[in-house]
Subunit: 712 residues, 2 copies
């Protein structure tokens, strides 16, 4: 049992509730809530100074007057009254659910900050403000201000819902009813000034009535706490996240001064992948997945543990994803295959001996492939024959039953129901609309076989089932500081440069060299030095050389015309150095040996607003900017995590020895990524970018590097 | 009226129908069809040698005995009987609909070929075989073998459906009923040995009952006829295509011997874009779009013509796509925005003066943005107020009404109905499930405002409506031969090389030079020449030089170790040439001047199985292979079409002067693409690939080129 459960165990299971703002009129929010609370099997204390009794319950003028401290106090009074009300909760309530709106979401950030501080002082945990509160049908607990007549509650079931938005929570409720799935717990947590998704996941992880969790998120507070909690929950039961505000991805935002590399949603999505937490694309898929998982997602804890243990040993392997499609309509089968390909599922061929066998069993015009096409001449029994022959050869089963043919009857429903009891394999059905289809669907869904109205939806649902068996994507969240020598060296470096935030290239490279990065040999010539003074030093370098302007004010050396490459002799070098010294804002010139050509990569470390230290990897050139081929991970990374990160990009094959070329030095790349991740994880800097570093079959070279310290 | 309409006008409007294989029993296909035909308002002649009378109709022993030649004869007899039956149709039927299966789809390709030939000889047009036939509720025409009890027909309406697959046609029927849309015409055309989508589009283009056409395609016959016909249809009414078998894209197939460049589905999809023909991703989107278009897709012919005329002048501009979202749930609004971004729609900001105005009208806690958030405190009237203020500033309107709040009632439905009569702007609604939502949806859908169960579906539907107003993507299909000097030069070239199919690099380059491509200066040294013999000629070239092995058997010079670059003097050159001569399969060595560095592009011409001559464009390096960043178009292309093609790839910004670099020579690139398109369009060659050509700020250079002639 986690600390959260101890602290917040009462949130879904309170013994007593007060309602500040109780009302007689169910037309008012305070009346609607009170009416819901009448069903609650615990003590309820309405608070309203104007009445002695509301809806038959003794009513109190203030929270201070009620006879006992309560587990939960619901507040539904205008926003400006909430500070005073909350203050009065000290010692009288463990938790306040502030339903009222009018806080940060309408620009009242100070008011929100105030109640946050008051809650802390008063020792009261807060859900909300601007929220729907909690719903637990197993305890008849319902704090929603929408009466059942307006928002029908789904039946009792095994799906827990957390939603930042009340609107989405309502939409999920309606959609769950339509999708024939039931609810175990629901929370709308609104502005989340205190209790957030991390707390809620902790609570739900051990809830015996919950088999599946779906979670709608708009914004995160502490990204690492969220990941830690989501990862723990995902180990125990399937969790699917729908994140809105993906739009920010379009802006590839400016919080990396080296530009155009990072965008909030990409970071979120990458990190979810890093820890094997499942994300869904849109509202429809959220519900479709939830339905499949609610029906069949109860993966044995041991299976999950196996998968988890296997993962660290085997590396991040693919899920078992061989899908068998049995259809009575060729076209629908092909659409399902298309979707399987999009979803990365494998329509593995039928085994040869099974083809032979099925050709004996079935008429010659049946298509004995995968999809297995039983044609419009199908009979109910054919599905069962095929399933029994083939089930052991596949990981997931998709049945397509187009019921507008004579051979498909209600009996198919009963047969599939019986079949299901013989196997643990995920099984989903696509049936078009129509009367027979509805009858079959009703039988199937009672037997926990989900039915979908399009082949593609059925495939996506099957994917959710196959994925939820797999927790091999999990890495441990390392919240510790970096472990190598980076911290000490970086600390000294920053100490000796104490007024600086941005550093010159040679300074950064000097640091990187100390930490063990491969850096070209070079000499920095300060603005006021004469060329002849460094001429002797320069003669130690081997031509051809490169000369680059150094300036904390120049963002792009190329765009500033600050690069001279392939300088062949001292004359060329001197001319180049003199020119570069005269560029506006020049603080000097860095002369370096030219590096051999190789594959350019970008390795970066940034401090993400939500996740803190994050490391980024992509190929150089246009891959990152035009093709958005970039991956992020929480820093610091160990070697195996760095290897995982490298494999996330589409350009990965280029590293492996593409088209007969030599494979590149993965060990070196892994080491550089791990080192950058350690640097950013120190917390001493705001950003570091190696762009580009060049990778060779043996070794690498950092061609350019930038770093920004934290503002002191 | 097109030729097709004349020829096939009777297909949806026959005066007389015979049914070969008529049966008493409606359990049998021949009985089910006859029962449907009883409702038909024309003459019906059952054919069956065993009976004189079936279901009350006089029955004939053979088609030859019926009293008049019929417009349509339906054949539902075992496949092996069809050749003889079809032969008997000569002079007795204009068109045979062969419902029977057992042809190419089960491997009986010879039988299919036979009936194709017989039909031609007999002068009978054929629909099918292995098909559902035709459905026209306006004539009570229904040849489907599925009785209404098994497959309920949708109501009469304005959507025409063509489907190669009977299964998908049935699924579409069921889905249309669910989506509350009606049908005007439907055809299931199966194996399409004669009548195909091109014929059907021609027929439907002028059908006054049809406003929208949806088309499910598995494979194409003549791609150019298809495109021509689809383009003509799209000019008159919205056409949406769902293509299955996208999976082939994964295989990036081997029908280009230079490898890994072309894949059938990418070609199909690119060419659809070239001509502005709309494609949809999956079954669900097909139905969602069809619903929106059936309700509001009747764009004035003049509007389409305007768009069409504008396009040729302005180039392929973006559609007008400013979308206003009005919601009463913040979360749903954000999900809608995410989908708008994915769909390339513009959530343009509210105009400043409207923000001011709305802040006066609405309570302070409403969110005055786009999405306009009316919150849970919304009242029906608020939507109308907002719409009237803002409708003129946007091209499309999305209303999100989450009905689980007190302020939304049935009245909202009536208000929106009235509002719709005041505007031509596309308008769609998302309402979650629930009782009030159902009532509102019923009112709205009667007024032709489509309602969707998720915000993302509503956005995609709105996209379909905005797109259908836009036909600016249309190019004219040029079926003519190429017009420049390429044909004559190529003809001569092939004549003088008459036994050859594959050519050596210097031969191809010689040809290209004659046609006006920029080619490096170079000299070919044949296998049996001595270096000293060409030494004088070589001295005319400027160092550094490149030496490359020449062989019709070596696919990749790099992988064969057949490249020596940057040779600085005669000694280096001689060594390189000698080495390359000794490579296995070497037929000689091409020595060329080194070209300057620039941006590498790939330009290819292939003969596509379905579309014939097709031109392909992509960037060199990894863009094509790893990022699949490649576009195709029907050849030949005129200059403006070539420019369109270039703009289709994600890497396009690189050509425009990326990050402060000089823009590259677009004129030259356009010219090279047009020339390659002319070469492949001659029909004299099978394939040509310039890979890479290098592009400079001024000019270009073809570094390597391959060509394959047609087998003679």
């Amino acid at each position: 049992m986690s600390a959260n459960t101890n602290l917040l165990g009462f949130l879904f299971n309170p013994r007593s509730i007060s309602l500040v703002g109780a009302s007689h009129s169910t037309e008012k929010l305070g009346g609607a809530i009170l009416k819901n609370l009448l069903k609650f099997k615990g003590r309820v204390y309405p608070v309203n100074p104007l009445y002695k009794n509301i809806l038959g319950l003794k009513t109190y003028p203030s929270i201070k007057e009620i006879p006992e401290p309560v587990d939960i106090s619901i507040i539904i009074r205008p926003a400006h009254e909430t500070p005073e009300i909350l203050m009065a909760h000290k010692g009288m309530a463990k938790c306040a659910i502030i339903i009222s709106s009018g806080f940060a979401e309408t620009g009242e950030t100070q008011l929100q900050e105030d109640i946050k501080n008051i809650a802390k002082e008063a020792g009261v945990r807060v859900l909300g403000p601007n929220c729907m509160g909690v719903y637990n049908p197993y305890k008849r607990l319902d704090t929603f201000f929408l009466p059942d007549t307006l928002l029908k509650r789904p039946k009792k079931g095994n799906v827990a819902v957390t939603s930042q938005s009340g609107a989405i929570l309502s939409s999920i409720f309606e959609a769950m009813r339509d999708a024939n799935i039931g609810i175990s717990k629901a929370v709308g947590y609104g502005n989340a000034i205190d209790i957030d998704e991390a707390d809620l996941y902790g609570l739900i992880a051990d809830d015996k009535n919950t088999d599946v969790v779906i979670s709608y998120i708009e914004s995160l507070g502490d990204g690492r706490r969220f990941i830690e909690s989501a990862k723990n929950l995902s180990k125990k039961k399937p969790l699917i996240i729908l994140k809105s505000g993906k739009g920010l991805s379009g802006q590839f935002a400016a919080y990396s001064h080296t530009g155009r590399l990072a965008g909030r949603y990409e970071v979120f999505s990458s990190i979810l992948r890093q820890f094997g937490i499942k994300e869904t694309e849109d509202f429809g898929s959220l519900i479709d997945s939830a339905k499949a998982l609610a029906y069949q997602g109860q993966v044995e804890a041991t299976l999950r543990e196996d998968s988890l243990r296997g993962a660290r040993g085997k590396g991040h392997e693919k899920i078992s994803n061989r899908v068998l499609i049995i259809t009575n309509g060729g076209g629908s089968g092909v659409l399902a295959v298309d979707e399987c390909i999009r979803q990365g599922l494998d329509n593995a061929h039928l085994p040869q001996e099974k083809i032979k066998r099925l050709k004996e069993i079935f008429p010659p015009f049946y298509g004995i492939n995968n999809p297995l096409d039983l044609t419009a001449q199908v009979k109910d029994e054919d599905y069962l024959l095929a399933l029994n022959e083939l089930k052991d050869d596949y990981d997931g089963l998709l049945i397509i039953a187009l019921t507008g043919v004579r051979g498909i009857t209600e009996k198919l429903g009963w047969m599939l129901k019986d079949f299901k009891s013989t196997t643990n394999k995920p099984i989903v059905v696509h049936a078009a609309a129509g009367a027979t289809a509805k009858k079959i669907a009703s039988i199937l869904e009672k037997s926990k076989i989900p039915v979908y109205p399009s082949p593609e939806q059925a495939v996506r649902a099957l994917k959710a089932l196959l994925c939820c068996q797999d927790v091999s994507g999990y890495q441990n969240v390392r919240l510790s500081e970096s472990k190598d020598n980076a911290f000490e060296i970086l600390k000294n470096f920053i100490k000796t440069n104490k007024d600086k935030r941005a550093f010159l290239e040679h300074e950064v490279k000097g640091l990187l060299k100390n930490i063990g990065f491969p850096i070209p040999r070079g000499i920095f010539i300060a603005k006021d030095s004469r060329f002849s003074a460094v001429s002797h030093e320069l003669s130690a370098l081997s031509y051809p050389l490169a000369a680059k302007v150094s300036s904390s004010k120049i963002v792009s050396k190329t765009e500033a015309g600050g690069l001279r490459l392939g300088l062949k002799n001292e004359t060329e070098l001197e001319n180049a150095v003199n020119e570069l010294m005269n560029i506006k804002n020049s603080e000097g010139v860095l002369v370096e040996e030219m590096a051999a050509k190789g594959l350019e990569v970008i390795i970066g470390g940034i401090i993400d607003e939500q996740f803190g230290p994050v490391v980024m990897f992509g190929l150089g050139g246009v891959s990152v900017e035009l093709f958005k081929d970039v991956a992020f991970a929480l820093a610091p990374l160990e070697r195996e995590d760095a290897e995982w990160l490298i494999k996330q990009i589409k350009g990965y094959p280029l590293l492996q020895g593409y088209r007969g070329q030599q494979p590149l030095d993965m060990d070196m790349l892994i080491e550089m990524i791990a080192k950058v991740s350690n640097l950013i994880a120190t917390g001493l800097i705001k950003e570091i970018t190696l762009n580009p570093a060049v990778l060779y079959p043996k070794g690498a070279m950092v061609l350019d590097a930038k770093m920004l310290a934290e503002a002191s």
